[in-house]
Each structure stands twice: as C-alpha cells, then as structure tokens.
Symmetry: C2
Subunit: 490 residues, 2 copies
Amino acid sequence: MSKSIPTREDNYSEWYNEIVKRADLAEHSPVRGCMVIKPYGFAIWEKMQKALDDMFKETGHQNAYFPLFVPKSFLELEEQHAEGFAKECAVVTHYRLKSNPDGKGLIVDENSRLEEPLVVRPTSEAVIWHSYKNWIQSWRDLPVLINQWSNVVRWEMRTRLFLRTSEFLWQEGHTAHETEAEALEETGKMLGVYAEFVEQWMAVPVLQGVKTASERFAGAIDTYCIEALMQDGKALQAGTSHFLGQNFARSFDVKFVNKENELDYPWATSWGVSTRLIGALIMAHSDDKGLVLPPKLAPIQVVIVPIFRTDEDLAKINEKVEPLLAELKAKGIPYKYDDDDKYKPGYKFAEYELKGVPVRMAIGLRDLENGTIELARRDELSKQTLPFDGIVGHIESLLAEIQQNLYDRALSFREANTFSVDTWDAFKARIEQGGFVLAHWDGTDETEEKIKQETKATIRLIPLNSIEMAGKCVYSGKESAKRVVFARAY
Amino acid sequence: MSKSIPTREDNYSEWYNEIVKRADLAEHSPVRGCMVIKPYGFAIWEKMQKALDDMFKETGHQNAYFPLFVPKSFLELEEQHAEGFAKECAVVTHYRLKSNPDGKGLIVDENSRLEEPLVVRPTSEAVIWHSYKNWIQSWRDLPVLINQWSNVVRWEMRTRLFLRTSEFLWQEGHTAHETEAEALEETGKMLGVYAEFVEQWMAVPVLQGVKTASERFAGAIDTYCIEALMQDGKALQAGTSHFLGQNFARSFDVKFVNKENELDYPWATSWGVSTRLIGALIMAHSDDKGLVLPPKLAPIQVVIVPIFRTDEDLAKINEKVEPLLAELKAKGIPYKYDDDDKYKPGYKFAEYELKGVPVRMAIGLRDLENGTIELARRDELSKQTLPFDGIVGHIESLLAEIQQNLYDRALSFREANTFSVDTWDAFKARIEQGGFVLAHWDGTDETEEKIKQETKATIRLIPLNSIEMAGKCVYSGKESAKRVVFARAY
C-alpha cells in the first residue's frame, strides 16, 4: 500500500494491473502464460458461476464433464475448427518422466512417446461431438442440452491477467437439436442469458449482435456475441453463442432418425463465457482508489469496522453490534466484522476501498452515545452518519441502489461514447479517441481488413434488430444496408 | 434394459460396470484412460462438492485456482515427491500444431518445442508451494488455508470408471501453519471432515488411521486416511490427509519471520478426495437391481409416476398432485413428476430403480377415489399404499430413515466382515474371503511387502486411538504393539 495506484488517465494499463494486484485478485504464475486466481478473485468467480449455473439449469441444461485431452485426429475432423485452434495448442506427447541417468533430476522418458499426440482442450466441440455419436440415435434423444465448467488452454505469447492467459476457466455449453429453427432459438436464448447476466449481475450494459465472417468461431456458421465498453473506450467481448449448423454432426458422423423416420444430422450450438468476465468487471466500474464491485457479485457486501482503543471499548461495541450482525446473517447479506487489532481503522478503510466492498460502516464510542453509525458507499465514495436503529433495512435498499447506480453510470458512459460517423476522416479521428463507432460498411472482408490495418479497429458486431438504414461504406463508399459497430478491442 | 444385470455374487466387477452404465453415470471415452461423467453422475458429484465445499468454508478455508501445468523443474524440487509421480505424468512438450506439408491433417510443429517440458498436474503441491513463497513472509500471513477444485492427471494403463482413471476430478487442500502442532491439528481436522462427509452424507462408515511408510503420499511425513469396506469385501481408500512437515517449505525455500522475530519454515498439510468417492458410493449400497443412493446425495429424492390411459385421466391426476409438488418444492425436496407418455409405468419403475431414486410414488384413478398413493422405497424394495393427505410429512421422515438405514446396513456389513486373526494360516484363509482383517504386524517394510506378495493384502491403516495390546506379528512372530488393519483393496 506504499505507492499510490496510477490513475486511469495517466496509465490505464498499469492502473488495471495494480487493481488486480492490490485487490488481491490474481497474479502471474511462473508457468508461462498461466495465472493464479487468488481467494478474493476466485470468490468473485464463484459468485458468477453460481448465478450463471442457476440460469443454465433454469433453461433446462445439465452439467457434465468430458476429457481434458483431445486426440489430434479428433481435432482434425472439422477442418475449419482444426485450422482455427492448431496454432495455440499445448500438446502432450509423452506420459512418463524418468530419473536423469546423467545426473540429477528428471527427464522425459522417450519410451513413453504416445502413438497419437493429445491436445489439451482449447474448447471441447471435438471431444464432445465424438461422445454425442453414441448419445444420439433418435429424435427422442434430442435435444441434448449440456454444459461443462472447465479449464481450457490456448497458448498465448502475450498475456494479461484475466483478459488473456494461456489457461483460463470457463463454461462451455454444447447442444444438439432436431431442427435448424430449434438450434437457432437456443443460440439466441443463451445470448440472452449472457446479456441478462452481464447487465443484471455485473451491472455492465452490453450490445448484442452477430460477428462478421472473419471474427467467427472456427467451425461456426454464425457467432453471436455481447460486447461491453470499458472505461478506456475499448470494447470487450463478454460472451459468445455459436450457431454451428450441422458442421460438427457431419464431421463426427452423428446421425439420428427423425420423426419422419429418416436419417438426419442434428443441429448444434455452443456458447461460453470465461474468467475474462472478471477483467470486464474490473475495467467497467473501478476507479483510481481501487476495485468497485456491484453488490450482487461482491464476496463481502458490507464491512463493519469498530473504532476502539481498549478491549473494554471493543466489548461495548461488540455488544451493540451483535444483533446487527445476526440480522445481516439472517437476511443472507455477506458481511465482515473486522475487529482485528493488528491494523488501524484508516488502514482498514483503505484496504476495503481497494477491494471494492460496496458498503462500509464504522462505529465508535461516540456513535454508541448518539445511537448512530457511519456509513460509506464505495461507488460514490460518500459518507453519512445514520441512526443505528433500522440500519439493516437501509443497507438492503442501498445495496440495490448501488447495483442500479453502477449500471446506470456504465450505461451513461457507453451512451456518451457511442458515435455515428459518416466520413473516413471522422471515423479515424473518432476511433483514435475510443468508444463504439457506428458506421456503414460495404460487407466485404477486404474493407474490414483494411480498416483494421489502418485504425486497429475491428467490427465488434452487426447489431441485431436494428432498423435497416441504407448508406455508403465509410471506407469504400459502396452501398451498405445498415451500420455496424466498430471499436478497438481487448 | 434388455439383458439383466449380472448379480454381485456372479460377477462383482461386471455388476459394477453395468450399474455405472445403466444408471447413466459415466462412460469410457476414446481418449485413453479418461472418462466422460454423464449428467446424472455429475449431478451426484455436484451434491458432493456442495456439501464438502460448505464444510471446508465452515472450517475457515477459501478456494483458489493454480495452473494446470507444473514445470518439470518445480516437480524435481521435492525429491520424494518427484520420484512418486514421475512415472505417471502426462508431459506437454510443444505448443503448436501445423498443417501436414505431406498431406492432410495436422502434425506437431517441431519449432514449437518448449524449453522446459510441462507436466499436467498430478497434484499441486509443487506449483502451489512455489506461489506460497510470495504469499508467506511473516507469522501474520499464517495460517494459509486454501482449497482447489480441479482436474488432475495420473497416467494409468488399466482403468475403471470412477475408481481409477488417468484424469479425474478432485479437491486438494493446501495449508501452511506457524507450528508443527497447528499443522498436525489441521491434518486431523480435515480427516475428521472427510469421515463426517462419508458417514453422514454418503452413509458409508469408515475406519480412520495412519498409513504405513510404504503407502504414504510421496513427500509426506505422515498420511492419514479413511477406509471403507465395499460389498465384495475389498477396502477402498476414501480420502487422505497428509502431514507434510516442513518438506515442501524447505524444497521451495518458503520462510517466514515468526513471533520471536526469527526465520522459520512453515508447516504444511495437504488433503484430498476425488470422483473416486462416486465409485465407493456405488459399491457400498447398490444391489442387483441397480444403483441405491443415500437421499442426501440423490439428484432426485422422490419420483412421482402418474398411472393413466387418457389425457383426461392425466388431467385429473395432475390436479390432485399439483399441491403435493408445490409442497415438495417449498420444502426443497428434489423431485421429478414423470408424466411422459412415451414410456409405460413399468418401464419407468425399472428405470428409477436402476437410477437409485430413494422414494418412488405412483398414483392412478383408483388412488384418487380412495385418497391414497402408492409408495416404494428403493433401499428395501418395499411398497405400501398410504393416505394421500400428509404424504409429504411422511416422505420427509422416510428420507431421513432411508439415509440412516443405508448407514446402519453398511455398518452391520462391515462389522460382520471385520475379523481379528492371530495365526498366519487363519490370516491367509480370512483374506481370501474378504473383509477387514485386524492382525499384529512387526512394523517392518519387509514383512509388509511379503504379506502383500503372498496374499495381495495391504495394510490399509494403523488405527488411531486404538488400545495398545501387545502381541506377536502374524507373519514373523516378532513383537507387535497393536493390531493393524489389513485388506485387499481397490
């Protein structure tokens, strides 16, 4: 806590790194590209998992678990998919180490070479569709609605905690359906679940849309996505839901007898969100004092700090506070009563500010006399003294208010940073300053690629349900049916 | 459902495989040694995880996540540990595939060879203690009480679903303490948590004790364990808690300033249980009709099957049953109302019997007239007709009764299959027939090894807190301070 955190304005990237470090969320591991998720960061992930898992189950999905390893030959079966992931695969080639005959330590035992190399799953379509071949024979077996919580590995040279690491945690849904319409409905439904989670739980507004061909998941017909805007004006893809058509079914030879008694290929979807969401959460709300957490995902929603000098003082405060703690517990509000005497109140206040605890209360002898308690809210960094009686009721509504306030703030920010531009000069100038830029595009890969090369901006998505308003491509001047959303992105 | 299941008596091993398959718990994957945990099996694992995770948190532990990969050089640091795991390590040597220049498909890109091979974690002491070096500087940083839920890989040539697979799911606790006494207390506490979980939730009685040197975890000073008896008379190690002394702290150079302001090495423990527990659960309670589940771990505790011919009949039954379902839901009793018309009641009954649903109810038109409902309990395979009114109250107490009955039954079985023997002939004869055999042992590795070679029996544990009663070693005739527990084991 010695040095102060760099401000967002001074050095956004360093600010982010320092928040992750000082709020004790995660750290780099000496294992190339892998991170250690520390208890406080993991507690946030557990809250996210619980909320998402409940939503998946409510929409009829079940969890299962498939192997970590994907034989090379499985990965090869869907060509696009193989090509998309080949360059970032951790490959297991041996299954044994042995003592080094020339000295100390261990070496790879060359006699343990695998006949076929195994890839550590970068995603599980291949291994799961191989299983589905046995699971799906008849329309009665459909739909198959499976989700898996797991770790995956995609080798990365440049990593950033939560945002881009070689190993990350995620969930991956893999479904199979009788008809194209059902699979499309599922793709949309799960995109909706993600949007609801990110907006209602993370308090981060998102745009929904479909990716262009160049940004599509390897092996998908269409990739739908939600995109959020970070405080530095860069976009972050927060979740994707893929319509896979019959590609994987064909590649893995999965067929079923349909209601007309004919053989058909099932239609597939897959969808996922990852620990990357923690990065989004940090960047959407936090400030120069530290992490800011929406109450619904805060491991501790309320912290109470007693202000005391002697054990006698503390005993008096404890007595007063006890029924308050009992009430918080009864209402299921996660709290911490920090009566540790190793640290001073000022130190504790700074620590909980860093950790983004939404509501902080302090109570001292003066408060006991006055029947008051001091309450500080993290989102506004404001303080007030309130009557002690009835404080839990106040906290309950305050938590809901903070949740809403964070969302509203993020939404205002996004609205203030969303622009329509119509000329190439305006486009370049705007992209340079960040934000979502709505512009016409001629629909070609070439134009998309040139814009990316010249401005580092990518098409984040083609909006769903937007009104078609014809115009001219901002780059080529050719015809365009509607605006798409550009941004620089994480 | 065509063929019947082999009986336990005819072919215990095949019976086990068929239960796993027909109850839809798991299947072999084409990925060598790895299994697919199917939704019903995974739902049991989720129940286990939830119960254990709550117990870990109540005892002050927090979850975190460490990298999947362990650099070879980390593994080497604790010699015993390295030696213990070297022979079963999946080794990542490359980080990229590329298109095969000679034809179709992908090959390992030799230009992507890693400078240092990475081992897929067989357990995480090495990678975690490497992190603890940064986490622990002062006695104020202790204790560190961390748990991780993860997958691990230990290469196996012969595999059995849940019992022995190359990849499995588990939790691993890793703690660091100021003093030896505290670490020993933690080791014992977590052994107690495991015993409580296995007895209270899985309804399987366990013996608690300490392993002999030859059965110790690689790198531990002492390995404590719980052992359960399966229906074929073989023992199954259900959980282990290791006292690691200062071994890992020394190997990874983790030091802290103690309260006397001196540098010291922290004292460590680690402890784990895995998806193997599902194997134990199956083998402890199931019968020749299929799986038998203790209610506390059953994904569905109660199934209700309406008996109907016409939609009109079903509508009448639905109306009657609706408040019953609402009451089950309100009480948090997981139930399924199976009004599917694709299958007949008899088929459904057999299916739920196979899947071990503790309580099955059936209700038809006759029941509506009589105000009754038919209720069958899976543990006893018994049926009775009961008044419909007040049935939920009855179910609640019945579920508790079934939980207790399974435990009592397993305990009686264990008691009937635990023997004290005093001669080598009696020992050999007894071991041949299965069960726990309490016998004197002279305390030497040689005797232990010879007994194992001659009878395939191992010392499962040296009991804790048993009364010391001197005797003569059953094999060597030498002095022995107390009996130890022998058995053939999974």
